[in-house]
């Protein structure tokens, strides 16, 4: 059992080592911020992946840059701004709230509202049909 648990743990741990092989930052708080930041940056070379999860050269370089910036006392906002200045907003996996991005954030709510409105209209129409048109309901059909 113990051996099995060890094997399982090792199996789970392996992928963590596979990508980011850099030495952790001395300060655990900084290391945590570094980890969080690389998980919110997009690997532009590979698209669907984060900078944290990619083996692409691009990810390696961006991780190094983030690590150095965090290590030298830059704030999370500084790092994000640095990346956006160079790569554009696309590098942020979670787009910032802005006038330009408003439609992106509001689209799901608008779709839901639109759907709800259509459903409401259909239901209302059906009910009014039931109320006005009773021609097909005969006495025999009633329970």
């Amino acid at each position: 059992m113990k051996r099995f648990a060890t094997a399982l743990l090792l199996a789970l741990v392996a992928p963590v080592f596979a990508i980011d092989t850099s030495a952790p930052l001395q300060d655990p708080a900084q290391q945590a911020r570094y980890q969080a930041l690389i998980h919110e940056l997009r690997c532009l070379k590979c698209q669907g992946e984060t900078v944290a999860d990619t083996q692409a050269m691009f990810g390696e370089d961006i991780r190094r840059q983030v690590r150095e910036m965090v290590g030298s006392g830059k704030s999370d906002a500084d790092v994000r701004q640095y990346m956006v200045d160079r790569y554009g907003e696309i590098i942020l996996l979670r787009p910032a709230w802005s006038a330009q991005n408003a439609w992106l954030w509001l689209a799901p709510a608008l779709c839901l509202l639109g759907g709800a409105f259509i459903a409401w209209r259909i239901l209302r129409q059906r009910r009014s049909l039931l109320e006005t048109d009773t021609s097909e309901v005969t006495d025999e059909a009633r329970p």
Partner: protein, 178 residues
């Protein structure tokens, strides 16, 4: 009312088909990332010059000239395809062609230029890709067109084809583009 039932969904469906068809057709030529740096001053840098060992190349020496900054590496397959066009651009002599050697091996890079010919006026070497980050580079080849004031006016991701040079970049340099 009966008609609406079919016409509206059909119209919506047709509209979606058109939107997707156009988007799909345009996708390959449309750049995934339109550079955030267009219209911004090009970052200054000083890097060792592959062509003049022991000396540094300083980007400030380029002020006052049109510059084509090409990011390349011998590991980059498309760069080989692009090479002939870069040689042609160098022969035309309308721009300074600078080849930022990106994450490469110096000897391999020299060998490449010896074999295929050298289209570059200078080859700053960026083994760690630090200057590349300043230029928002995420692969190779990528090419920046920088005006005499030192502002990035266009960026080509992937290979510069003769068409891109003739129809897109050259008109900007000659002042014919809007």
């Amino acid at each position: 009312m009966k008609l609406n039932r079919f016409v509206i969904p059909l119209a919506v469906f047709a509209a979606l088909v058109v939107v997707f068809a156009v988007a799909l057709k345009r996708a390959p030529e449309k750049q995934f990332v339109r550079s955030a740096l267009l219209g911004k001053p090009a970052a200054e840098f000083q890097l060792p010059d592959l062509l003049k060992p022991g000396t540094n190349f300083d980007s400030r020496t380029l002020k006052g000239r049109w510059v084509l900054l090409n990011v390349w590496g011998t590991w980059c397959v498309e760069c080989r395809a692009e090479h002939a066009q870069l040689l042609a651009i160098q022969r035309e002599g309308k721009v300074a062609v600078i080849g930022l050697n990106y994450k490469d091996d110096d000897d391999a890079a020299r060998q490449w230029l010896k074999e295929l010919g050298n289209p570059f006026d200078a080859v700053p070497v960026d083994p760690e890709g630090r200057v590349a980050i300043d230029y928002g580079v995420y692969g190779a080849p990528e090419t920046f067109l920088i005006n005499p004031e030192g502002v990035i006016v266009d960026k080509v991701v992937s290979v510069i084809t003769p068409e891109i040079w003739q129809q897109r970049l050259l008109p900007i340099i000659e002042g014919k583009a809007k």
